[in-house]
């Protein structure tokens, strides 16, 4: 680590510092990747709630397969899409621990569709963070279930044709239909306001679990600069406009008890 500007002037108070729940390992994510931002938000929330030592995370398959190198809690590595099944078991064995899954759009809305819908339907009091960047990052930029119509990917070289490939999956809208879900929200981590709101949503989603209320999922609109073939900042703008334009950034389900939580 090479800290610069360490000669802090007098009278200054600390406003932001490195979260305890984040390891010091420098991540493998691409420059500007939203995974880095959301990992940090999860770590900040675990710190604020004081639950780091009581938490078990379930890692997905995707770019964030190595999340266990970055977030400082016990972790198990699930097969692609199966994290909600593992989390279900762990939470039922340890109802007083905090159990969360962190999944990409392919992991949760393609191969893992059955597992997440059933976990939500059973009202498993786990917390799911679903990162939606409308593409398969780790495997090199193929179409994801959330890829937009007309979007060019390595497996839709002429743009996604919905008549052939199907329509984009609006996962939050689907999960909100399940009786067991108590908090389903979509956020956009594509600007400062959005990131702050995302953090609050993540905190509420963890609190819903801690208070034993039911299943909570925060879908986060995100970027993939590398596979979208644009720079990090341009990717944030594109996501805000195009993903935000297609996937409504709103809360689809929030029970009264969840609303009353102090997040």
């Amino acid at each position: 680590m090479t800290l610069t500007r360490t000669e802090i002037p007098e009278g200054m108070e600390l406003v932001y510092s490195y979260p305890d729940s984040l390891t010091k390992v420098s991540s493998h994510y691409c420059p500007g990747c939203v995974h880095g931002i959301v990992h940090r938000l999860v770590a900040e929330v675990l710190d604020e709630l004081g639950v780091r030592e009581n938490t078990i995370g379930v890692a997905p398959v995707g770019c964030s397969v190595l999340i266990y190198n970055y977030i400082n809690t016990d972790f198990v590595g699930a097969a692609h899409g199966r994290a909600p099944a593992m989390a279900t078991a762990i939470k039922r064995i340890y109802p007083d621990k905090v159990v969360f899954t962190y999944q990409g759009d392919g992991d949760i809305a393609a191969i893992g569709t059955a597992e997440i819908i059933h976990a939500a339907n059973r009202g498993e009091p786990i917390t799911t963070i679903a990162i939606n960047n409308a593409i398969y990052g780790m495997t090199g930029g193929q179409m994801a279930p959330t890829t937009l119509p007309g979007m060019v990917t390595t497996s839709t070289p002429t743009g996604r044709n919905c008549e052939v490939a199907g329509y984009p999956v609006k996962l939050s809208e689907i999960l909100a239909q399940t009786a067991g879900a108590v908090y389903i929200t979509r956020q956009s981590a594509t600007d400062i306001v959005g990131i702050r709101k995302t953090k609050r949503a993540i905190k509420r989603a963890f609190l819903a679990q801690i208070h034993g209320l039911g299943f909570a999922c925060v879908e986060v609109l995100a970027t993939c600069p590398t596979n979208w073939n644009i720079g990090p900042w341009e990717a944030m703008q594109w996501a805000k406009e195009h993903l935000g334009g297609f996937y409504p950034v709103e809360t689809f389900k929030m029970t009264d008890e969840v609303k009353a939580l102090k997040a």
Binding site: T2, L3, V15, Y18, P31, R40, P232, W233
Partner: protein
């Protein structure tokens, strides 16, 4: 002297540039002629006196490069308020 101060962990920076866009006083810039250990052009602070300690940079940074400090501003009191405070709170002897 600015109201805020950021400590920058240069080797964590991947030169993504997100912070340079969100800094409201535009004092962050990717340094064009230096590289960090990862081989990126890391962020530098061009004019620290302008920093307001808003932590937008820390909010958007995916790599936790920034530690942010801010000087607490005590609001200026009116004479009437100061007088009332003196009346209601015990004064030290002597």
């Amino acid at each position: 002297m600015g109201r805020g101060w950021v400590v920058v962990d240069v080797d964590r920076c991947k030169g993504c540039g997100l912070c340079t866009h969100v800094c409201p006083v535009k004092i962050l810039k990717l340094s064009p002629d230096t590289f960090n250990a990862k081989g990126y052009h890391p962020v530098t602070v061009t004019d620290g006196d302008q920093c307001i300690g808003c932590a937008a940079c820390a909010t958007i940074c995916p790599d936790v490069v920034f530690t942010v400090y801010r000087r607490r501003r005590v609001p200026k009191q009116t004479p009437a308020a100061l007088q009332l405070t003196a009346q209601l709170t015990p004064q030290p002897e002597g």
